[in-house]
């Protein structure tokens, strides 16, 4: 067996190169549930908003199924590059709960892969939703209780959620080992 090739930073100079890098709208192929938005800013360990970080969003559809074809009605994948003020935005639908081992379920969530200048390889986190019952999620419960709230986006009645990402230091977002 051969171990995977080493990752390397994507650097700062890539935004013209990647497919759909500004297509943060996961509903562009059709509306398959009530639309929601998730917006926020990405900060580094000194509290500086950081541009040119690539966020990749991956989620199940409203019934908790992951798309497995390129022509699926809802594909569940989107990219967004942080703007000069560190901001990002995704438009999507709320995912359903996703099966876990045994009879347990993961609360509705999206996976977020983060690449950036100054990041040597991908860092992965998750986004949960404050208006869902997250108490029994077996993955969220792996995160120390005091930090769980950093993964939970807070929304309003119109489906506009907010969640900031802090790469390092005070208030650091919980990140998962790959």
């Amino acid at each position: 067996m051969t171990r995977p090739s080493a990752g390397q930073t994507l650097g700062p100079f890539y935004n013209y190169a990647l497919m759909g890098a500004n297509e943060f709208d996961l509903t562009r192929g059709g509306q398959h549930g009530p639309a929601i938005t998730i917006t926020g800013k990405l900060f580094d360990g000194e509290g500086a908003a950081r541009r040119d970080f690539l966020l990749e969003w991956w989620q199940a559809d409203a019934s908790g199924q992951y798309a497995n074809t390129a022509d699926a009605p809802f594909r569940g994948f989107g990219r967004c590059i942080t703007k000069p003020d560190g901001s990002f935005s995704f438009k999507t639908i709320k995912p359903g709960a996703v099966p876990f081992e045994g009879n347990s379920w993961q609360a509705p969530h999206a996976s977020l892969g983060i690449f950036g200048p100054g990041l040597m390889r991908r860092i992965v986190t998750r986004v949960y939703f404050a208006d869902e019952d997250n108490t029994a999620c077996p993955v969220l419960n792996l995160v120390p209780e005091a930090r769980r709230g950093k993964l939970i986006a807070r929304g309003d009645s119109a489906g506009a959620y907010t969640l900031d990402i802090r790469m390092s230091g005070e208030g650091e977002t919980p990140f998962f080992a790959e």
């Binding site: 067996m1 171990r3 995977p4 090739s5 080493a6 990752g7 390397q8 930073t9 994507l10 650097g11 700062p12 100079f13 890539y14 013209y16 190169a17 990647l18 497919m19 759909g20 580094d44 360990g45 000194e46 040119d52 991956w58 199940a60 992951y66 798309a67 497995n68 074809t69 390129a70 699926a72 594909r75 569940g76 994948f77 996703v98 099966p99 876990f100 081992e101 993961q106 969530h109 996976s111 200048p117 100054g118 990041l119 040597m120 390889r121 991908r122 860092i123 992965v124 993955v139 792996l142 995160v143 930090r147 790469m167 390092s168 230091g169 650091e172 990140f175 998962f176 080992a177 790959e178």
Partner: protein, 230 residues
């Protein structure tokens, strides 16, 4: 068939904190990464089709005469068992022959080359193969870095069969003296893993009296479940 995605990291992957590169101490998490079981979220992943690739193409010269050494880069995308990864989305981008990117943040006074696109995209074929035509990029200095120059390199972005098999890496050119002092390549502790990021010159890939040839194979995370023995 059950796919296995073992924990990522170790000496074959770059350290998150390096001495030189863009103050990695403020981007790398300070807290320990939380161990995550592989769930349906990680073992599924986006599937791409021809419509996603669009008309970006695999000729970064667009058929034009472009400054620099014309080169063909080809290779195979494999999993950890050595099996081809078909239909993998491969995206690549690079500086031009002067080491200049077409990006507003690259403010160094080096010339753009209007005939060079600097980026391409494709899906691997049934044997996991990719191939594109470009020029060898130039080296360029890293700002505020005490005269560190990046060696010529091409960025590669790949999606294999799962969210867990995602990889962004860089391909380096054989024999360049900057490789051994590059703060990004050398952030990979394992020497064999660094060597695997350096392409091999391959005349069978090049075009006679026209283009140099380089071979660069890439291994993505994931292998088949090993059968129980005994």
């Amino acid at each position: 068939m059950t796919r296995v995605y073992e924990p990522f990291g170790g000496p074959s992957q770059p350290d998150l904190r390096t001495k030189r590169y863009m103050r990695t101490n403020v981007t790398a998490p300070a807290e320990a990464l939380i161990e995550l079981p592989r769930t349906a979220t990680e073992t599924s992943g986006p599937v791409f089709g021809a419509a996603d690739v669009g008309d970006v193409g695999v000729d970064l010269t667009n058929g034009n005469t472009v400054l620099g050494s014309l080169s063909v880069i080809a290779g195979q995308v494999l999993d950890e068992d050595g099996r081809p990864v078909a239909n993998a989305l491969v995206e690549f981008w690079q500086a031009n022959a002067s080491g200049k990117y077409p990006h507003e943040v690259d403010t160094r006074p080096a010339p753009q080359d209007p005939h060079f696109t600097g980026a391409g995209r494709m899906l691997t074929d049934a044997e996991g193969r990719y191939k594109f035509t470009t020029i060898k990029p130039g080296a360029y200095p890293v700002p505020s870095s005490n005269n560190w120059w990046r060696p010529p390199h091409i960025h590669f972005s790949l999606y294999g069969d799962a969210f867990a098999s995602r990889l962004i890496t860089q391909m380096y050119f054989p024999g360049d003296p900057l490789n051994s002092i590059d703060g990004i390549l050398q952030a990979v502790p394992d020497a064999a893993a660094r060597t695997r990021l350096i392409a091999q010159q391959d005349e069978s890939v090049g075009i006679h009296e026209h283009a140099l040839g380089y071979r660069f194979d890439i291994v993505l995370r994931g292998h088949s479940e090993t059968p129980m023995v005994g």
